[in-house]
Amino acid sequence: MISTFFYNLLAGYLPPILAEIGSVVGVFIVGTIIVLNIPLLLGWVDRKLSGRIQSRYGPVYTGPFGLLQNVADVIKLLGKRFITNQSIDKLIYDFIPIALSVLAALMIFVIPLGSPGLILVSIPYNLLFIYIFLALSPLLVLLAGWGQNNKYAMLSGFRGAAQITAYELTLLMALISIGILAGSYDISSIVNSQHTIWNAAYLPITLVLFVIASLAITERAPFDVPEASQELQAGWKIEYSGIRYGLFFIAEYVRLLVVSMLIVYLFFGGWNGVYLPDYAWFWIKTTVVTLFMMSLRWVYNRPRIDQLIDIGFKWLLPLSVINLIAVGFIAVY
């Protein structure tokens, strides 16, 4: 546990109260650095991957293999002027990008980073915490749609709210069935319960439900219906510019990574593996899952909002209820 590590490091030189504060500061700095680097790295991977799929190179000029392209983009975004509409709701407008990125960042603080001890803040039931943070952010999208006083943004906000209502129950049901089987909502215990056999083999339907629902809830393409740059230009991001717009990328990529990590933890045995150290196993699996989630974006087009909600309510939700009952029976007998 990283906070304990900092505490023990500082306790030798400082009184306990200062060491406590120091460990909090340390955790905060480490977590922020991790969070800020995720979009830089994942953004690069996303660009390169899409380039490969689409028969082009992706970024090549900035740094080796174009690795610094996203750093350049951040510098550009920082240097950009804020262009804001006169009729926006200033409070909501300013609040949304910060709230979204902070919510996303909080998930990195409570999720294990590859081995049981490698966690910034250790809390029980961290799976439920992460679920709450995932399910809250779309409500902020609705608020963002209102706050910008723009028709496109408002339509997008409505879409976001509708989409999330349709899918968050499915996600919750999938999480509950995992929880029932493992007997805990703590990620470490869930991983340990998969020591002999992965949940993916036990619960293939839950896996499919979880992947679809998490794609929808993170508004990742092909389920980026609220953003829909072809119909609604950029949806709820439409009035944002400069680094405010950049903050959305933090939220987007951090949520993508967290969802991929969750899939590995919940279904593919987390850090369980042979020969290699546990974090190596975990990050190999996470890379594969993340690349899979990313590549979905480049091979599928986006469904329409009414079709998306149809799928959510008519198919996924009933299926997830049945699945939950079935898992309950398995767990009891």
Partner: protein, 382 residues
């Protein structure tokens, strides 16, 4: 939309079902999916379109007025830019109308070369359409792939004429240049590549992809009588089951000597229009292969002076461009310039029909239907 706090919008939501409180949104003129500069004023209720009013004229350049002010030969570069996606088709059309008025007969090799260029341009235009359809539905990969294959043909056109988008290859009385040596084998292999990719790679990503079908099947249905009512032609009409193709019905150039079919579909929805165009690419490849096989040798042009006069006459020519039946009606008065040149742009009628096709669809269908009708603002606005 009222100003003030964002939360004031809740009241808008409550009244949305009432007619006078519908939301009006403007799609365009500057919008990623209007294929240029078109504008739609859409009244929506919730996510459903209730009334739609297309507005055109944003790239109106006064082409018909320009024609009256230029010598016959000098209008060619402007005919090029009418539809910048199918420039060669319009060049051929304009050359045909002037040659018909002049009573010039072009040599057989030029006829075949023109036919070949028309078909290559049709393939390029339809590839761009496929790419745009993917982009409109949110699949950027299809967009890139469409451009990738189009680029191969662009290289061929560039090698032949020196230009890419506006090649200026057709001259009055024939062609400017003959094919460069070694082009035919290169063209043949390019066609093989395109055929293979359209049949395999595109299939997986578009016309047999579940999500793609979900977005296009049953969307923007044009019944045959609606197509006739608005005068739709080309692939849009053929997707509604109307067997109209000027290449077959009123053959011009070398089309009566070539073997090909009219591609039709019955459903009349966005998916049918997509499939018709995909099959037309394959059909055009077939045509080009036949032309390569029996391309006659000989002269490529007859001498037509740069400045000449045409006696008073009315000349009407219509041909099949990738977007439908295009026509030019030229009135001459014995002078060195056309007295009046009226251009019929097939896209204009497709855009006009949109006000009826769109009603009842969702907002997301705007781009799907618009993309499937494949208009070019350049020729709509002239």
């Amino acid at each position: 939309m009222r100003s003030g706090t964002g939360l004031g919008l809740i009241s808008n939501f409550r009244f949305m079902e009432k007619e006078r409180n519908r939301i009006t949104i403007n799609i365009g003129p500057v919008h990623p999916s209007t294929h240029g500069v078109l504008k739609f004023k859409v009244d929506i209720s919730g996510d459903t379109m209730k009334k739609i009013e297309p507005e055109i004229g944003f790239v109106h350049r006064g082409v018909e007025k320009m024609a009256e002010m230029k010598y016959y030969s000098n209008f060619m570069p402007i005919a090029d830019k009418l539809d910048y996606i199918a420039a060669l088709n319009w060049e051929v059309l304009y050359a045909s109308v002037v040659e018909k008025a002049l009573k010039v007969v072009i040599p057989p090799r030029a006829v075949y070369l023109r036919t070949m260029m028309c078909e290559l341009q049709r393939i390029m235009s339809h590839l761009l359409f496929i790419g745009h359809s993917g982009e409109d539905l949110g699949n950027t990969t299809l967009f890139m792939w469409g451009f990738r294959e189009r680029e191969l043909l662009m290289d061929i056109i560039e090698e032949v004429s020196g230009g890419r988008l506006a090649p200026m290859y057709i001259s009055l009385g024939g062609m400017y240049y003959d094919l460069p040596p070694g082009l035919i084998p290169k063209l043949a292999s390019t066609l093989d590549i395109i055929e293979k990719r359209v049949k395999n790679e595109y299939r997986a990503l578009s016309y047999e992809n579940g999500l793609f079908k979900m977005r296009t099947v049953g969307v923007g249905i044009i019944e045959a009588n609606l197509a006739i009512k608005y005068g739709l032609t080309g692939p849009n009409a053929r997707a509604s089951g109307i067997k109209c193709d000027l290449r077959k019905n009123a053959p011009y150039l070398a089309y009566d000597k070539l073997d090909f079919d009219i591609i039709t579909a019955d459903a009349g929805d966005a998916y049918a229009r997509f499939v018709v165009r995909v099959n037309e690419i394959l059909e055009s490849i077939k045509i080009v292969r036949q032309i390569i096989k029996d391309l006659p040798s000989g002269e490529i042009k007859v001498k037509v002076p740069w400045i000449f006069t045409i006696p008073p006459s009315y000349t009407f020519v219509r041909q099949e461009t990738p977007r439908g039946e295009a026509a030019m009606y030229m009135v001459t008065d014995g002078g060195q310039k056309p007295y009046r040149l009226k251009i019929r742009a097939p896209s204009l009628y497709a855009v006009q029909a949109m006000s009826e096709i769109f009603v009842g669809g969702k907002v997301a269908d705007i781009v799907a239907i618009l993309g499937s009708l494949d208009p070019t603002p350049g020729e709509v606005d002239r």
